[in-house]
């Protein structure tokens, strides 16, 4: 099969994400990138754990008094649900239904945007109420680097989905763009994987002390 082929529901392959050479390369290359991302985030987690609560004096707020459990819980639910909605999108991609795929991707983008809005609110709250900034302490630097890097990934994922949706809005599905959607959804799930460790290691373990 090659990418330019016009396909119908009957001829659509079972694994469109791996049915051309280009798609196979994309698939493999993207997983290689995710291996690198794992190293990146593990290092940021290591830095955070080493520098947690390392503040110059007692005027600085520590993790225990900073984090807000209900806010983190809502953010977690939003991101977890957006992971499921992108699974739905890929289900419709495999069934050669571009319209339904786009609908679920838009829902995913909306949930991701809501997550990002909560994170922006959270950061500005910390800065204004607690004077907890990127430069206020080693703890602040480590915290904002880790969570901020994850937030930047979310923002990039949103842009990626939106670009794909807009670029392919009038094209329908083919073997050229289906792997692109698949890889973007892998990226989105990976963001959720990282968040599971952020809410556990940063927020929940931070509340425990």
């Amino acid at each position: 099969m090659h990418a330019e082929e016009k396909l119908s529901l009957e001829t659509w392959p079972a694994e469109p994400e791996k049915s051309t050479l280009e798609a196979k390369n994309k698939f493999l290359g993207f997983w290689f990138f995710l291996g690198g991302e794992t190293v990146l985030f593990a290092s940021l987690f290591a830095t955070y754990l080493a520098l947690k609560d390392k503040v110059p004096d007692s005027t600085h707020t520590l993790a225990k008094d900073l984090y807000d459990l209900p806010l983190t819980f809502v953010a977690t639910m939003l991101l977890l649900t957006s992971s499921l909605t992108s699974v739905y999108a890929m289900y419709h991609m495999k069934n050669f239904n571009a319209k339904k795929m786009n609908t679920w991707l838009i829902i995913t983008v909306l949930l991701g945007a809501a997550f990002l809005a909560l994170e922006v609110y959270e950061f500005s709250h910390y800065v204004h109420e607690y004077n907890h900034t990127f430069t206020s302490s080693a703890f602040g630097s480590a915290f904002y680097t880790l969570t901020g890097f994850h937030g930047a990934h979310v923002a990039f994922g949103l842009m990626w989905f939106l670009t794909l949706i807009i670029r392919n809005s009038k094209r329908g599905l083919n073997l050229y763009n289906a792997p692109k959607f698949y890889v973007a959804s892998l990226y989105w799930h990976f963001i959720d994987v990282v968040w599971v460790f952020i809410f556990t290691v940063v927020y929940l373990m931070g509340m425990v002390g």
Binding site: S43, L69, T76, L80, L84, V87, H189, L204, M205
Partner: protein, 111 residues
């Protein structure tokens, strides 16, 4: 091609078969989503109910996170499917290298 065994040559039969296959996969994914939500709720509840010691909470919620991530990787990211040997190798080697950093940073410069 890898998916050649899925094609009987009769398009109608193939579509029916594939539809059934992906509906089955979808069921697995919805179940793993429910479990992921459930694990998240337990993790938050363990911390919200003040009464457990940190020595219990920390390993417990880390375990819940690992289980949840396994669901995410193997069901949502399809690592349970065939043809994911190279992706597993990439991911686990990345994890191994990352773990070295984590180990060093939490043991050597912890104090």
């Amino acid at each position: 091609m890898e998916n050649s065994q899925l094609n009987s040559g009769n398009p109608r039969v193939d579509i029916e078969y594939r539809k059934k296959k992906s509906a089955e996969e979808m069921r697995h994914q919805v179940v793993s989503f429910a479990l992921m939500i459930f694990l998240t709720l337990i993790a938050f509840a363990t911390v919200a109910i003040k009464g457990f010691s940190a020595w219990f909470i920390v390993p417990f919620i880390l375990l819940l996170a690992i289980v949840q991530v396994i669901f995410q990787l193997y069901y949502f990211m399809h690592m349970s499917h065939k043809g994911h040997e190279a992706p597993s190798m990439f991911l686990y080697s990345g994890l191994l290298v990352g773990m070295l950093t984590l180990l060093a940073f939490t043991t050597i410069i912890w104090w």
